[in-house]
Subunit: 354 residues, 2 copies
């Protein structure tokens, strides 16, 4: 593997000194980029794009050609795991993700087999290998997975949901079945992420998109406990460097203190809390990644720059900040706008690292 030329992200995630605050964007390879839409067109549909390592590499690298980002993130989908477990993922025209065979009862959960990532999700590992080769050490590559709770909601509902009727219904009335499912998913996520590291991922992020819809009690029992179990099972070193792990629960700002005790290296933070308050909550035990409201990218470059300055100031001096949006970039953002954010982070952050 070629030597890493820009290791700001890895250093910041591990709370080591850096020259400038590193920056990347959740969903930076995505629909807001015309070049992404062109590649997706070429692939046919979203799932075919995920399953084609060369094209997945192409879209992973596209934002790096446009912007001076400090990280690449594997282009894939969190639902590759349930798909590999046999649920039959598909995307209807203009619809969100759906499963042909959702989980409805104890027997469905018992029937789920263990995951062999290189066999069952070889296309993801191939994509990681191709991307590492093409990145050629420019910036580190982040691998990722959904959290067990988040994956479970899709698997039980049969797709996206607004009300969580079936998934919360199972959690409330058949907690043992839900726990059995979450345990299997935690094992699968460990195997999946470790395979990504073996293939070349240099940092890992766990997306807990739906942990924030739970009560504090249910969050601890049904989401955080399984993320902790995953962190314990992960390979934490590769190519002679530590592999940092980031946890992100959307809507989980008030639980950052508990998340900081999970053994992870860094926490994703959404925009509903200031980084100053977040830092107090985690007591500098972990790095923080965030936290600009993605809607700022609808605003003028001047306003974006003001917000970047405010967020850098809110975090303040010292190690442990990776700049990011507080959620994925919206698909209708003008691709000129992220440049204003990324440039401002690099131009304004040096004083905080002296």
């Amino acid at each position: 593997m070629s030597e890493l030329k820009n290791d700001r992200l890895l250093r910041a995630l591990l709370r080591e000194p850096v020259d400038l605050t590193p920056v990347w964007m959740m969903r930076q390879a995505g629909r807001y980029l015309p070049e992404y839409r062109a590649t997706r067109q070429k692939a046919g549909d979203f799932l075919s794009l995920c399953k084609n390592p060369e094209l997945a590499c192409e879209v992973t690298l596209q934002p790096l050609e446009r912007y001076p980002l400090d990280a690449a993130i594997l282009f894939s989908d969190i639902l590759t795991i349930p798909d590999a477990m046999g649920l039959g993922l598909y995307f209807g025209e203009g619809e969100g993700p759906r499963f042909e065979r959702p989980l409805r009862a104890r027997a469905d959960v018992d029937a789920l087999g263990a995951l062999d990532p290189e066999d069952d999700l070889g296309y993801v590992m191939d994509a990681v290998r191709v991307i590492r080769r093409e990145l050629d050490g420019r910036v580190p590559l982040i691998g990722f997975s959904g959290s067990p709770w988040t994956l479970a909601t899709y698997m039980v509902e049969g797709g996206s949901t607004k009300n969580f009727a079936r998934s919360k219904g199972m959690m409330f009335d058949q907690p043992a079945v839900m726990h059995a499912l979450l345990a299997k998913l935690a094992d699968a996520v460990v195997a999946y992420l470790n395979a990504q590291v073996a293939a070349g991922a240099q940092a890992l992020m766990i997306f807990d998109t739906w942990g924030g819809v739970l009560t504090p009690h249910d969050y601890a029992e049904f989401s955080l406990a399984y993320m902790r179990r995953i962190v314990e099972g992960l390979t934490r070193e590769a190519e002679g460097r530590r592999v940092p792990v980031i946890l992100f629960t959307k809507g989980g700002a008030q639980w950052l203190d508990r998340m900081a005790d999970s053994g992870c290296d860094a926490l994703g933070v959404d925009w509903t809390i200031s980084l100053a308050d977040a830092r107090r909550l985690v007591q500098d035990k972990v790095a923080l990644q965030g936290n600009m409201d993605p809607c700022l990218l609808y605003a003028s470059p001047e306003r974006i720059r003001l917000e970047v300055a405010r967020i850098l100031e809110s975090h303040g001096s010292g190690v442990g900040h990776v700049f990011n949006l507080g959620h994925g970039i919206h698909p209708d953002i003008d691709p000129e706008r992220p440049a204003a954010m990324i440039d401002a982070v690099h131009e304004l952050s040096a004083p905080y690292h002296r």
Copy 2:
């Protein structure tokens, strides 16, 4: 007006002693009830139901016939104010609310006139009067309004939104225009709620459905500041009793301390925080209303009862708790389930009031 036979709600909201914890449900008059669907059918559509005082009264009272609730809440919609301001509210088939004439520029905001509630929203005041007559003192009637920020999002977007592109865009790039709009809306809400009190509303609730999508800084400046202004302008006494005011920001659990300093009497609390933590945050300055996850109503009566016990215990002994869901009841709930919750609140709460 007939004497109030059950004043638990008013007493609890004012942190006065009660025999049992009062309970009602947000959206208790709604689609989960077959009798509601029948009345709505009779009215033609949702908006015609809102604008017909006799039918609005009919659906307001329906949940009281089924369950021993401790409050009625006016059946209406938060978008009656922008409709009365001339934006042209309509509901397309299977769609959310839309406005024919959304606000796009400073001139649109400047053109908005002041609201005369008895003239412009006479059907709401008529509904309040009919409901009070038909309630005949059984339980108190809650009046309500949307918060200025929440109303502004619909008025600028032209309807519901996922991304808040236009409304946050205006807030970020034209803050003076957004402030002008919010100031007009705050005045309108004061006039509207005071007219509801004059017509017979005995408690008031302000629904800030979209405050939780803001940063802490923007929430303070663009949402909470205008709710505080409203609270200052409200009639706080009628028929010889204090009229309690409840503020509810969905997703605002971590800002309860700031909300408690707004001059309101009570705060609505969603299920992402325990009532024990919420009580610590507000230091018993205000009463708390909540906070069962509405998805618990998908669970068995036994599980619902367990959750009620947990929430009562989390609040603990002492004054100032109104039991409620943490958000509106979902439309696909089996109408048998709320009975389990309501009965459990009454049966299990007496020990906390000795």
